[in-house]
């Protein structure tokens, strides 16, 4: 059941991206008013939530352990954040970047064999739940920061080059994107910090049982350091606007690439 619901959610996310991207196929035509993408994202998030709940019922544990469940949770958090942004700003542009990310992560979750993962005794404890939950939320916020930054760079280029076409009309104001990027960092960094700190504690506890993997901690620490560096530079006023957007994009790619390398190199089996 949860697999079917995930497919429904995936289809709705995909449809959202398609609807948002449709105006770009028409030259210099303004996109339609954005209630359709907002509704589609809402339906996708609801279906996704139902899918995760069905997984909880079927497996008897939260979807935080195992590759497919944790990837699905990450996609859900990112979808939820995108929905919130769409709702609050009445702008759908965020779905243009966040949408494909969600679709990609969900597709990876489904492709990796979605099913109830066997949990180690410690993985259903509160410590692990807070660690995994905050880590996933931190990564989702980092992805949101990346999405805002990517849109900022596109809008910056459009405005600088005076290209008053579909993108110009569709993308939100630079200041709004910069603020979103900033907010995602400000919230994401402490959240990820909590996840990392708890991971260290969890690693110490799990060392005796062999339930934890140092690669995950390496990746988490790397994410934390990159996000922390960007956040610190922003807080101190060294990074703003285009440079901050570039830093966010590069940071996100660095973290994503490192994770993929670690995962492919043999640390697979669990997302966190």
């Amino acid at each position: 059941m949860f697999t079917q619901l995930h497919f429904v959610a995936l289809a709705c996310y995909g449809l959202t991206v398609a609807v948002v991207a449709v105006p770009f196929l028409k030259l210099r035509e303004a996109p339609a008013p954005g209630s359709v993408p907002l509704v589609l994202t809402g339906v996708a998030v609801v279906a996704h939530f139902a899918g995760l709940m069905a997984y909880v019922r079927a497996s008897g544990s939260l979807p935080l352990a195992g590759v497919a469940p944790s990837l699905s949770s990450l996609a859900f958090l990112l979808g939820l954040l995108a929905l919130g942004i769409q709702w609050l700003t009445r702008e759908n542009a965020i779905a243009l970047v966040a949408g494909p990310l969600v679709v990609g992560v969900m597709a990876a979750a489904l492709a990796s064999g979605f099913g109830p993962a066997p949990l180690s005794p410690r993985e259903d404890g509160a410590w692990f739940v807070i660690h995994a939950g905050s880590s996933l939320l931190g990564v989702a916020l980092m992805a949101l920061s990346f999405a805002a930054a990517a849109l900022y760079l596109v809008q910056h280029r459009v405005l600088k080059r005076r290209q008053f076409g579909v993108l110009f009309q569709f993308l939100p104001p630079l200041e709004q994107l910069d603020r979103l990027n900033h907010l995602a960092l400000v919230v994401g960094f402490p959240v990820l910090t909590i996840g990392i700190v708890l991971a260290a504690g969890y690693l110490g506890q799990a060392a005796s049982t062999g339930g934890a993997r140092s690669a995950h901690l390496v990746w988490g620490l790397l994410s934390w350091m990159i996000l922390g560096t960007i956040a610190a530079l922003r807080f101190r006023g060294f990074l703003k606007g285009r440079r901050a957007a570039l830093a966010s994009v590069l940071g996100f790619f660095a973290v994503a690439t490192t994770y993929l390398v670690l995962f492919v190199a043999g640390a697979g089996g669990r997302f966190l």
């Binding site: 303004a30 104001p173 630079l174 006023g237 285009r242």
Partner: protein, 437 residues
């Protein structure tokens, strides 16, 4: 270019370039300041060879309207344009003749040839061009500009073409909002105190921008504006360091060359906070801002063409009114052309009427001699009858002759009338011919 392929001289001609044919770099060099236009028109008229001249020069177009132009005035137009732009303008210019020329001005005045279709400013600019050219415009251009302004007025009152807020100042706000999500609390600097500047300041203040107005010569005007709308007024020379603290700069001075240069404002812009965008909207023609300024980090520079392009994207509502507006233009072109082409048969129609009046008077006198017994009141009735009959007989042919002349060959028609009614004399010398482009 002075004559048609068949060797005839066109009666009406427009030579010009506009945003459709020339980039702003060329247009700004050719545009004349308003104060110089009367002298330019006078100089062209003095060159001789035409019966009327007018010059329409705006940020979007510079057009010479010529009636019965001969070689001297045409040569003068081309050489002046080349001298002003520093290059031949042939590749950017268009030449329209007779009915096409008339239609062009009427469409321009109606706002149909504007980048922001339906914008109303052009109507005033056409009126100003007419006013400034009046001593030299002659009867043909006088009538043409009247028709154009009538069409413009009708289009704006009878259609919805002019509705909505699409304008360059509103585009300034739209563009600024693509950089700053909200303008409230932002600091704006406006260079210049003209009408466009004032309109822009009004809109910005309405959005919550804190304005500073910089004036070059007219400090009193700057103080008037700021006393009414708020903000502060400064001398233009003191404005350059202010670029450090501004979010938005609107430039609309009448300076003949760029006054905002990297040398003047580069240091102030570089001293701004890291990543803080500066939006510069240059609505002046010639442009006030050196394009190099736009290459500085975090500077977003837009000129009049950019703003009009943005404004033109908001005219969806207006597009629906286009067919009705074009119909009004067609009607006014027909009215004008009927008058214009009818001039070629006016003398013949007048001669015909004189001849008929002569015959009527003679026949009436002869008849009244035989009706001597009639009382005075009846004699008046008879005279009235003859006049009414003559007018009725001649009204149809006179009207149709003018209309037929409008469709071409007025000289032949005039000759036919003179032959048929034995009117004698020569046809009018300056009859317009219908030419093909």
């Amino acid at each position: 270019m002075a004559s048609h392929a068949d060797g005839t001289t066109p009666g009406l001609m427009v030579i010009g370039l506009s945003y459709r044919t020339a980039p702003i770099e060329v247009r700004e060099r050719l545009a004349w300041p308003e104060r110089d236009v009367p002298q330019v028109v006078a100089d062209l008229a003095a060159a001789g060879g035409g019966s009327g001249v007018a010059l329409l020069t705006t940020c979007n177009r510079t057009e010479f309207y010529l009636a019965d132009p001969g070689s001297p005035i045409l040569d003068e137009v081309w050489s002046r344009a080349a001298a002003r732009t520093g290059q031949p303008v042939d590749s950017y210019a268009y030449v329209l003749r007779d009915r096409d020329a008339a239609r062009h001005l009427i469409r321009v005045a109606a706002g149909l040839d504007s980048l922001v279709v339906g914008e109303s400013q052009i109507q005033g600019q056409v009126r100003d061009a007419w006013d400034m050219a009046k001593p030299f415009s002659g009867p043909i251009l006088h009538r043409l500009f009247q028709s154009a302004l009538t069409a413009g007025g009708r289009v704006r009152s009878e259609t919805t073409l002019g509705t909505g807020s699409a304008s360059v100042p509103s585009a300034c706000v739209d563009l600024a909002k693509k950089i700053f999500s909200a303008l409230a609390g932002k600091r704006g600097l406006v260079l210049g105190t003209g009408d466009m500047s004032e309109l822009a300041i009004t809109l910005l203040v309405g959005e919550g921008v804190l304005p500073t107005v910089a004036a070059h010569r007219n400090m009193d005007r700057a103080l008037q504006i700021t006393s009414r709308l708020g903000g502060q007024a400064v001398e233009l020379d003191h404005a350059w360091p202010l670029f450090k603290d501004m979010d938005l700069v609107i430039c609309s001075t009448a300076a003949p060359h760029a006054i905002v240069t990297v040398e003047r404002v580069g240091a102030a812009i570089r001293a701004r906070g890291n990543g803080r965008p500066l939006c510069i909207l240059d609505i002046a023609v010639p442009r006030d801002v050196d394009p190099e300024v736009g290459k500085l980090d975090n500077v977003f520079l837009y000129d009049i063409d950019d703003l009009q392009e943005v404004a033109a994207q908001t005219i969806g509502e207006r597009k629906r009114a286009l067919p009705a507006a074009e119909r009004i233009v067609d009607e006014e072109v027909d009215f004008f052309w009927e008058w214009y082409a009818g001039r070629g048969v006016v003398d013949s129609v007048r001669a015909l009427r004189d001849r008929m009046e002569e015959l009527r008077t003679a026949e009436l006198a002869r008849a009244l001699r035989k009706l001597d017994h009639l009382p005075a009141a009846d004699r008046e009735r008879v005279e009235h009858l003859t006049k009414a009959l003559m007018n009725k007989f001649l009204h149809g042919p006179s009207t149709r002759l003018r209309a037929a002349a409008g469709n071409g060959h007025p000289a032949q028609l005039a000759e036919t009338i003179r032959y048929l009614f034995e009117l004698g004399g020569e046809p009018a010398p300056s009859e317009p011919e219908k030419h093909d482009e």
